[in-house]
């Protein structure tokens, strides 16, 4: 757990003694360091998204805690040596943070780790370890600086500076990401580290002309580092990199925000022709396109408006709803570069509303590519709303003839297999329920996905829609749902009401003319399922048919991929892996069996293993080597208590971070608000822990655990009931909602660790570093465990497990030595 930004808890450090006692603490530099720590975590989320395939929040949190934990262990084993040199070392730690922030990232992004290559090259695992260690280094130096300040000076004031700095740093970095590209933000944070070193030296009376000159030179050096070193360089397998390798292609513009890095690619000699699932019967390919890449991967093309070249829009499975009716009012959720808006207009829609979360993309289509796109987003019949899709769905009351959930074009070198752990709240039961509310009775909802063989995505899409329809109990799902496929895409259509004979005939004719196979429609026979895109057996049809029958649960259980409906609690639409198939897939390695594994999931497993090993080696092992056997009898209890707290804290923190993405619309916003809230309020709780002890004596932890379980369960209920509804409120209201959920829980969660350490200091002070290390190690592993469990069992389960960890801590608490002051207060 982190009850200060550095992972150091005031109660873990000895009283300020010796030369520094009573001296003015370096408050400004501590505040700066704490702010930089959280800012670095948020920035790393963005950098991971751009360089690799996912923001991997679990890895960022884990590696930062590894850095902090290792610094804590170093401080614990070198305490005396360190204290005599504190004033000299403190500014150096901050200097090294500044230098390593840029240096380590520059080296790290030269390490080519590709998740899929992991399956073939075990050596890649070692590179992942190097990457993980390198990125932990800046946090190690920050941990040393804040931890040593806490050891050497007045704890209360340093602590306050630490918490305040962390909160402000989080807000500033989100603001910074609106105005600075990620690479520039990294330079700025590094220079801020050097500034903190300068301020720290000044605060500790260690400023010299030489140091000032050195720091200035270092700052200049950071700005002289070539852009290619610090600007995130997407993996060579990402879609953007691939597109730019094509002869004549050039990057014409980049726009950056906390939401995404948007890159615009114009192709010269070899045009971009993105038309997934285009029928073999298509008379022509797509018109000229400009490629808009989001975080260097998802491709959202902008079409040149050439009415005579738009016929291809009717030859993808996504055009199915237009073959089943003539919608006049169309809503496109995830408008992107406008392909689905163009498809609606091409098919005669009278008005189209597009919803797009990223204002940068909307602005591109409106301005730079206004003329190119035929002023698509300025047409009188088109309205574009810049908003999160779920937020829009929660608040919009108008109903449309057709609601289109646009497919995200991740068809580059990576593909959805790498996005296995990318949470998506767009394809969940709750989301479909909300989308159906936007559909006029008798109207249609449609969604298109990229399909894999054997069937996975299309089956999960159908399962999710069926569950949503069952919740609504408006009509029989089997009578309302139709699904069609090409060899690349599948399109689902859900009607609010029963599909009519005319609509079904429209579907059949559409399929016949374009060589698409129906997967399901009311009254369909198996003979129709496998005519044009032939599989050895009609697997898609049979799988989806199983979702309607009495055998559904048995089918979902037996199917070798996880195609259970996706929910807001388990929003991993692209994750299909089941452990029981591992042996079979591994045995078929030689014939391509590993292609059926989700590589993103594999990264999670590798990260877990390396976190366990590195956490032990860097945090626990040094203390084991240097241990003193003063209170061996208490050691087991210390392991359980502090291990449970480390696990519990991070399980809850990560679960809330992930769940609140739905409320705050984006992982970066969620990380900023949730991490800062947990830190600040747990810190306050930690500071006030002695009061709890005075109030409840040695039962304080038990009561606190009960309180945490009560508040945590309450939060879970509130989130389940209101998170969808809150998603449509103003950002201020959503942040307030988040803080109101997190604050009481974090406040209580901050206390047991401080109380345990306080008690341990009384009973066996030698075990304090040991407790700290166990807790640190558990904290490093816990974020990854949280994600792994969430993939299979949902975030609700992770929250319950986190609460259970607190229950364990409550029962295995470290009892303080009973003194008059610590005696329990009689109950009133």
């Amino acid at each position: 757990m982190t009850t200060t930004s550095s992972g150091v808890v005031p109660e873990a450090v000895p009283e300020a003694t010796g030369a520094e006692a009573g001296r003015r603490p370096p408050l400004v530099s501590v505040a700066l360091a704490a702010g930089l720590g959280l800012a670095c975590e948020i920035l790393l989320l963005r950098l991971f998204s751009i360089v690799q395939f996912h923001h991997t929040a679990y890895m960022v949190i884990s590696l930062s805690l590894l850095g902090y934990g290792a610094s804590g262990t170093l401080l614990a084993v070198t305490r005396r040596w360190w204290m005599t040199r504190l004033r000299r070392l403190f500014p150096w730690c901050l200097t090294l943070f500044g230098l390593s922030a840029v240096g380590c990232f520059a080296v790290a992004q030269r390490i080519a780790v590709h998740p899929e290559e992991l399956l073939w090259s075990p050596g890649q695992v070692l590179w992942m370890v190097v990457l993980y260690l390198l990125l932990a280094v800046p946090f190690f130096f920050l941990g040393l600086s804040i931890g040593s300040a806490l050891m050497g000076f007045s704890v209360d004031r340093v602590y306050a500076a630490d918490l305040g700095g962390a909160g402000v740093g989080t807000l500033l970095v989100v603001g910074l990401l609106w105005v600075a590209a990620p690479g520039d933000a990294l330079r700025l944070l590094a220079v801020a580290g050097l500034l903190a070193a300068l301020v720290g030296a000044w605060e500790l009376d260690r400023q010299t002309l030489g140091r000032t000159a050195f720091l200035l030179l270092a700052a200049v050096g950071i700005y002289l580092v070539p852009s290619a070193w610090v600007d995130p360089q997407p993996s060579s397998y990402k879609g953007l990199t691939q597109a730019l390798r094509v002869q004549g292609a050039k990057l014409v513009e980049e726009r950056s925000s906390p939401l995404a890095l948007v890159s615009v690619v114009e192709s010269g000699e070899v045009p971009l022709r993105h038309a997934p699932g285009l029928s073999l019967a298509a008379p022509q390919g797509p018109p000229e396109q400009v490629g808009v890449f989001v975080d260097a991967e998802a491709l959202l093309p902008i079409l040149r408006w050439q009415p005579e070249r738009l016929e291809y829009l009717g030859y993808s499975t996504a055009a199915l709803p237009y073959a089943m009716g003539e919608p006049e009012e169309v809503l496109v959720l995830g408008a992107g570069g406008g392909v689905e808006v163009a498809r609606a207009l091409h098919h005669g829609a009278e008005s189209v509303v597009g919803v797009e979360i990223d204002p940068q993309i909307v602005d591109l289509v409106r301005t730079e590519y206004g003329e190119f796109s035929g002023d698509l987003y300025r047409r009188p019949e088109v309205e574009v709303v810049v908003e999160d899709v779920r937020g829009y769905a929660a608040t919009e009351s108008h109903r449309f003839d057709l609601v289109v959930l646009a497919a995200v074009g991740g068809y580059g070198g990576g593909g959805p297999a790498l996005a296995a752990l990318a949470e998506s709240y767009l394809h969940t039961v709750e989301a479909f329920d909300a989308y159906l509310d936007l559909v006029e009775p008798g109207g249609l909802l449609t969604a298109t996905v990229h399909v894999k063989n054997p069937p996975r995505d299309a089956v999960k899409l159908a399962a999710t829609a069926i569950r949503a329809l069952e919740h609504r109990t408006e009509s029989d799902p089997a009578a309302s749902l139709a699904l069609i496929r090409s060899w690349q895409t599948a399109t689902l259509v859900v009607k609010r009401g029963r599909l009519s004979a005319a609509e079904i005939e429209g579907l059949r004719e559409f399929g016949r003319e374009r060589f698409f196979d129906p997967i399901h429609y009311p009254g369909m026979s198996e003979e129709e399922a496998n005519r044009y895109n032939r599989l050895p057996e009609p697997l898609f049809h049979r799988a989806v048919a199983s979702l309607f029958g009495a055998e559904r649960d048995r089918f979902l259980e037996r199917y070798k991929f996880d195609v259970r409906p996706t929910t807001d609690d388990r929003p991993f639409f692209h994750q299909f892996f089941r452990w029981r198939t591992l042996g079979e897939l591994a045995a078929a390695r030689g014939s391509g069996g590993l292609s059926l594994l989700e590589a993103g999931y594999l990264v999670l497993i590798v990260t877990l293993l390396q976190a366990v090993i590195l956490g032990f080696v860097l945090i626990v092992a040094p203390l084991v080597v240097l241990r003193r056997d003063g209170a061996a009898g208490l050691r087991g209890r210390v392991v359980v208590y502090f291990g449970a707290l480390g696990l519990g804290f991070l399980l809850l923190e990560v679960a809330f971070l992930q769940k609140l993405i739905l409320v705050l619309n984006h992982p970066v916003y969620s990380a900023a608000v949730v991490l800062a809230s947990f830190l600040v309020f747990a810190g306050l709780g930690s500071a006030l822990a002695p009061r709890a002890r005075r109030l409840w004596g040695d039962r304080a932890v038990l009561w606190l655990a009960a309180g945490i379980i009560g508040v945590g369960a309450g939060d879970l209920a509130v989130l389940g009931a209101f998170s969808g509804a809150v998603a449509g409120a103003s950002m201020t209201a959503r942040i307030a909602f988040t803080i109101s959920l997190v604050a009481p829980l974090a406040f209580l969660m901050g206390m047991p660790f401080a109380l345990g350490l306080g008690a341990l200091k009384e009973r066996a002070e030698d075990l304090v570093p040991w407790a700290w290390a166990i807790n640190g190690c558990a904290s490093v592993v816990s974020p990854i465990v949280a994600t792994l469990l969430a993939v299979h069992h949902g975030f609700g389960f992770v929250v319950l497990l986190g609460l259970a960890a607190y229950a364990v801590a409550g029962f295995c608490r470290i009892r303080p030595v009973r003194t008059a002051a610590a005696a329990p207060t009689p109950s009133p």
Binding site: L119, P122, R273, G285, K452, A543, R580, A588, G592
Partner: protein, 248 residues
């Protein structure tokens, strides 16, 4: 999480380490390594034959696999794995496919010696070389200039004189020499380019491996009948049935 499964995954990873160590300890000639690779691929074909309908590899494909020096088509730092049955990175974000997949794709094209074959996406040039061992005319197009230059030079050096290479856009095929008895689209394609359908002979076969750089998930085989009718098959290269019971 089942611990056994976790250990299983570790074994999957570490097995190649052990295999690699063995190979390094006892270096074999490239001919021997190729022969071993052919045996491996034939074993894989045997185990998957009911899934793609092929009893065994065409002898011409076996011969090609045993002849083409795969180690010449991969970067120096990857050569020690050149004859492992696995994909390898070749730079520029591209890979050379797993030999089993190369063999299966080539086999499924049902090539005859006098066939004319078009390849879209030359990459390393290995697939073109395999094709050139079997047929008289191979035309291959690459859009990434450094890859084109490297593969063209290598194919020339290895005296594959009947392989014509071109730098450029593969979307429009190679109309000057169309029609083609077989077309293989190894470049990532979001759809089948209509011009390629037109340039496919009647009868003719077009193969499109679908997946990511390192993983071919399925093979799409487009067939044009003698009467010009188009049909499409989605072939899973691996023996895998997604629903066979609780304990398969």
């Amino acid at each position: 999480m089942p611990l056994v499964a976790l250990v299983g995954l570790l074994v999957v990873w570490l097995a190649p380490l052990a295999f690699g160590a063995k190979a390094t300890a006892a270096p074999q000639s490239h001919e021997n390594q190729r022969a071993e690779l052919v045996r491996t691929v034939e074993r894989e074909m045997e185990s998957t034959r009911t899934y793609h309908g092929r009893e065994a590899l065409d002898p011409a494909v076996v011969e090609a696999l045993g002849t083409v020096p795969r180690h010449r088509f991969v970067p120096e730092d990857q050569r020690r794995w050149a004859y492992d049955n696995r994909p390898l990175p070749i730079g520029h974000g591209q890979t050379i496919s797993q030999p089993y997949i190369v063999a299966l794709m080539t086999d499924l094209l049902d090539l005859e010696p006098d066939d004319r074959v078009l390849e879209i996406g030359t990459g390393s040039g290995y697939q073109a070389a395999i094709l050139a061992e079997i047929v008289d005319e191979v035309y291959t197009i690459e859009v990434v200039e450094p890859l084109h230059e490297r593969s063209s030079a290598l194919l020339a050096e290895l005296e594959y004189d009947h392989v014509e290479t071109r730098l450029g856009d593969g979307y429009y095929g190679w109309p000057e020499v169309a029609p083609f008895d077989a077309i293989i689209v190894t470049a990532a394609a979001s759809h089948v380019p209509p011009p390629l359908i037109e340039q496919l002979a009647s009868p003719g076969r077009m193969m499109i491996p679908v997946g990511s750089r390192f993983m071919v998930q399925q093979l799409v085989l487009v067939t044009k009948s003698a009467a010009g009718e188009i049909s499409l098959e989605q072939i899973l290269p691996v023996r895998f049935v997604p629903l066979t019971g609780d304990h398969d």
